[in-house]
């Protein structure tokens, strides 16, 4: 440790004011503070401070995403081989599947981080701000909400758009209105719809080794099927719970999401209010559909409540996207309202609007925009309470 510290001390002048690489000071600072929490002693106010900092907080969130990432890698391989008719049983060819998926997924992760962090470094160097940790999470979320066949340049463009327009123009980490990862996805979704939806992008069907795609293969996701009037063909409840289905890389397994949720709730980093209320909102809307579905003869509406919530990205969005503390409502009451409407709208859009097979992304982005308004009314109520009290006393 001492040697490393010494090496850093020797290098520091190069990156400090007047040094050769002065312009890269904040990039240097980010790396140095990564290795060593600075020896800043408190100057004013509380003399002792909690051990927690943003680095550890963000790391916990990344840790929570690991189950989704690992399962996603395996599932990418699994879906690929399923399409080719090889290793069709779940237990077969684990390493082949995982290896295939890893080769597909890791480049997306690398591109997302490289582009995003690169832009952050540039912005912070220009603005002379320390580099904040926000993108560590966004950079992992972006690959997990991409279809496997998304071209890497598209990941780069989407990430660049999200970081610049979604975040930096507002002032960087902590200042953004919209969830960064979803901004990237929404941008690609509307800019390149053929590469972000439909039935060609979710499963990699490259036949490089001379195989052929099996007869009757459909690359559509369950929600894609349901939206086109084939609600009867959606994957079973258990398969969608475990995640054996086509979809974005990290979203398919509700189980993996729940593992992440467990860590977020255990550490108190994810808001239980938001998670619970999103679930409640989804439950309510799916329940309403269940009630009116038979009368309308709509098969999609009749998918059982729990099954409905296990499909698509509902669970992934619930655990990792809706709970983003920067873009969610900040007040406790606000969180209940915010979460409930995300759940409600996600199922509503998914089932009723034929243009969008999945509603989670749009529901969260919409409520991101609404969150400050919700908070405004919650805070306004507090102010009114105080005024009323004053009026009573006077």
């Amino acid at each position: 440790m001492k040697a490393l510290k010494k090496a850093l001390d020797n290098l520091r002048p190069t990156f400090s004011k007047g040094g050769k690489l002065e312009k890269l000071h904040w990039v240097w600072d980010a790396n140095e503070t990564f290795l060593f929490t600075p020896g800043h002693a408190t100057q004013r106010g509380a003399h002792i401070r909690d051990g927690i900092d943003l680095k550890r907080t963000m790391f916990m969130v990344i840790l929570a995403m690991v189950p989704c990432l690992l399962f996603g890698m395996w599932n990418v391989g699994h879906q690929h081989f399923l399409a080719l008719g090889e290793y069709t049983a779940l237990g077969e060819g684990f390493w082949q599947k995982f290896g295939f998926g890893a080769l597909k997924v890791l480049p997306i992760v690398v591109v997302s981080y490289a582009v995003g962090l690169g832009i952050e470094f540039v912005f912070c160097s220009i603005n002379k701000h320390p580099i904040q940790e926000g993108f560590l999470v966004s950079g992992m979320l972006i690959p997990l909400v991409m279809p496997v066949d998304v071209p890497l340049w598209m990941v780069a463009v989407g990430t660049a758009f999200a970081v610049v327009i979604g975040k930096e123009v507002f002032g960087g980490t902590g200042m953004n209105v919209l969830n960064v990862a979803l901004t990237a996805r929404a941008f690609l979704f509307f800019a390149y719809p053929t590469m972000m939806s439909g039935d060609k992008v979710w499963v990699n069907t490259s036949t490089a080794d001379g195989q052929a795609v099996v007869d009757g293969f459909s690359g559509a996701t369950s929600l894609g099927l349901a939206a086109t009037g084939n609600a009867g063909q959606v994957t079973s409840l258990m398969d969608s719970f475990w995640g054996f289905e086509a979809g974005s890389i990290g979203e398919t397994s509700a189980f993996a999401c729940l593992l992440g949720a467990a860590l977020l709730l255990f550490t108190g980093i994810g808001s239980w209010r938001i998670m619970f209320s999103v679930f409640l909102g989804g439950l309510t809307m799916a329940g309403i559909f269940n009630l009116v579905g038979p009368g309308l003869g709509n098969e999609y509406m009749q998918i059982p409540v729990l099954h409905q919530l296990m499909l698509g990205s509902f669970m992934f969005g619930l655990v990792f996207m809706a709970t983003d503390p920067v873009t969610a409502a900040q007040t406790d009451t606000g969180k209940w309202i915010y979460g409930f409407f995300i759940g409600l709208l996600a199922i509503l859009i998914r089932v009723v609007n034929p243009a969008y097979p999945e509603g989670m992304m749009l529901a969260i982005l919409f409520m991101n925009v609404m969150a400050p308004l919700i908070d405004h009314y919650v805070v306004q109520a507090n102010i009114k309470r105080r005024m009323k009290r004053a009026a009573l006393a006077a």
């Binding site: 440790m1 020896g39 004013r44 002792i48 900092d53 943003l54 680095k55 790391f59 900040q330 006393a393």
Partner: protein, 450 residues
């Protein structure tokens, strides 16, 4: 007895170095410093010159903008120096104390037979007035105003704080005399905030006051929390607050006719060699109480969350009843061994991202490292969990940061003091200095409204 008010939000920090429940009589201090900086917003006008002889109770300086408010010497002796800092700001008036204290005679008096004006005059001339503080703004009270109520907290929940039950034991007469004085100052009530664990008869049997009982973690003992949960401050109202030991000084003034600024101070903290209670004087050198200290120790006059760093050669603050000795944390921490990615078995944290919450019995010795760099507000709900007010703390802080005066007032700034945000500052992931921000807001608001 009235019903117990339950404070649910908050946090008791489990620190090493609690003072043993023994009171030691410290030697009379050879030199004392009275520091104008202990009184926020005060512009002092020094009334003495080096070489001048003073008696205990004689004024050293006064408030330039409220000339009736005098600040007195706690000892008799010779003024050694008026210590000044940048721009000739007065940092302290130093007095070399006589062996035998000579008191300025104010004569014993019975508050019951005096009118309000006479009592105030007596408090002012004896230097007891600055013990009385006011909300809003958390500054020394203005003798020209009349408070709606007066609040005193009879228990201290701050980390490692002095046990007031111990302090008050056998001092019931001076406490009661002080409370009788305060009762004459307001048409409203004198509230004495008790803990559900308060056992001292001196508190329980106190007369001329309203007893309010509270149960819950820190900051339940903060007078601001007690005000908020009994009779919150509305716009236009002023309440006064004071401490138990301050009331005792006032009581002694009326019983003996002397300004006797004796204090029982808890010496605490993981670096304190001999954590005990010491009976000493306001402004006494901390060295008298803590002995020799190794380098790398921070000496805080007050508690670890809101006290002031006075250094080894510093002096006890005017309002402080506690000294805390903490290890300095100015060494970088490698991320895997003791930094942000370490297991953190020795890290005190309210967050569940460190394992401290799984070890409820363990006591910690945190150093003064900030444990991370300052960031924008990212997490939400953290402050609310330790802030037992019907106030949105982050929204209030943001209103202060953007200097929106109307919004500050609307969001409840008038009800709080910086110390009420001490726990928020402690738990903050983004290391935002909320106490300083609140103080700034109060200054702005005070300037705008008075």
């Amino acid at each position: 007895m009235s019903k117990t008010i339950r404070i649910r939000k908050g946090l008791d920090l489990r620190l090493k170095g609690e003072a043993e429940k023994v009171i030691v009589q410290a030697d009379p201090p050879g030199v004392v410093d009275i520091k104008p900086t202990d009184f926020h917003g005060l512009t002092p006008k020094v009334l003495v010159k080096p070489g001048q002889e003073v008696k205990a109770g004689m004024p050293l300086f006064r408030d330039k903008y409220n000339e009736r408010v005098l600040f007195a010497s706690p000892v008799s002796g010779e003024v050694a120096d008026v210590i000044r800092g940048e721009k000739r700001k007065v940092l302290a008036v130093r007095i070399i104390a006589d062996k035998e204290t000579k008191y300025q005679e104010f004569g014993p008096a019975d508050p019951a037979k005096m009118d309000r004006g006479a009592i105030i005059e007596r408090l002012l001339e004896s230097g007891c007035w600055p013990f009385i503080r006011q909300r809003p703004f958390d500054v020394v009270a203005d003798p020209a105003q009349e408070p709606r109520d007066i609040f005193i907290s009879a228990f201290d929940t701050r980390p490692l704080a002095a046990d007031l039950d111990l302090v008050v034991r056998n001092n019931g007469a001076e406490l009661q005399a002080g409370l009788d004085v305060l009762a004459k100052l307001t048409k409203g009530r004198v509230h004495l905030g008790l803990s559900d664990r308060t056992a001292a008869r001196e508190f329980l049997d106190a007369k001329n006051v309203q007893h309010d009982t509270f149960k819950g973690p820190h900051p339940a003992g903060n007078v601001g929390v007690q005000i908020h949960h009994t009779a919150p401050i509305n716009k236009g109202e002023v309440v006064w607050t004071t401490g138990v030991q301050d009331v005792m000084v006032i009581g002694r003034l009326f019983l003996t006719g002397h300004f006797d600024a004796t204090r029982t101070v808890a010496v605490t903290g993981s670096e304190a060699r001999n954590p005990k209670y010491h009976r000493t004087l306001i402004g006494a050198p901390v060295k008298d109480l803590i002995g020799d200290v190794e380098p790398g120790v921070r000496v805080v006059s007050g508690d670890p969350l809101s006290g002031s760093n006075v250094g080894v050669d510093g002096h006890l603050g005017f309002y402080d009843t506690q000294l805390t000795l903490l290890p300095e944390g100015d060494e970088p921490k490698f991320f895997l061994t003791d930094g942000w990615l370490s297991p953190g078995l020795n890290k005190l944290s309210a967050s569940h991202a460190y394992p401290s919450w799984l070890m409820p019995g363990k006591r910690y010795a945190p150093d003064t490292n900030q444990n991370g760099e300052e960031r924008a507000f990212v997490m939400s709900g953290q402050y609310e969990a330790v802030f037992p007010f019907d106030i949105y703390p982050v929204h209030l802080l943001k209103a202060i940061l953007v200097n929106d005066i109307e919004q500050m007032e609307n969001l409840g700034l008038l009800e709080v003091a910086p110390e009420d945000f001490a726990l928020c500052e402690f738990v903050c992931t983004s290391k935002i200095e909320s106490q300083a921000i609140v103080r700034e807001g109060l200054d702005v608001l005070k300037k705008e409204t008075t």
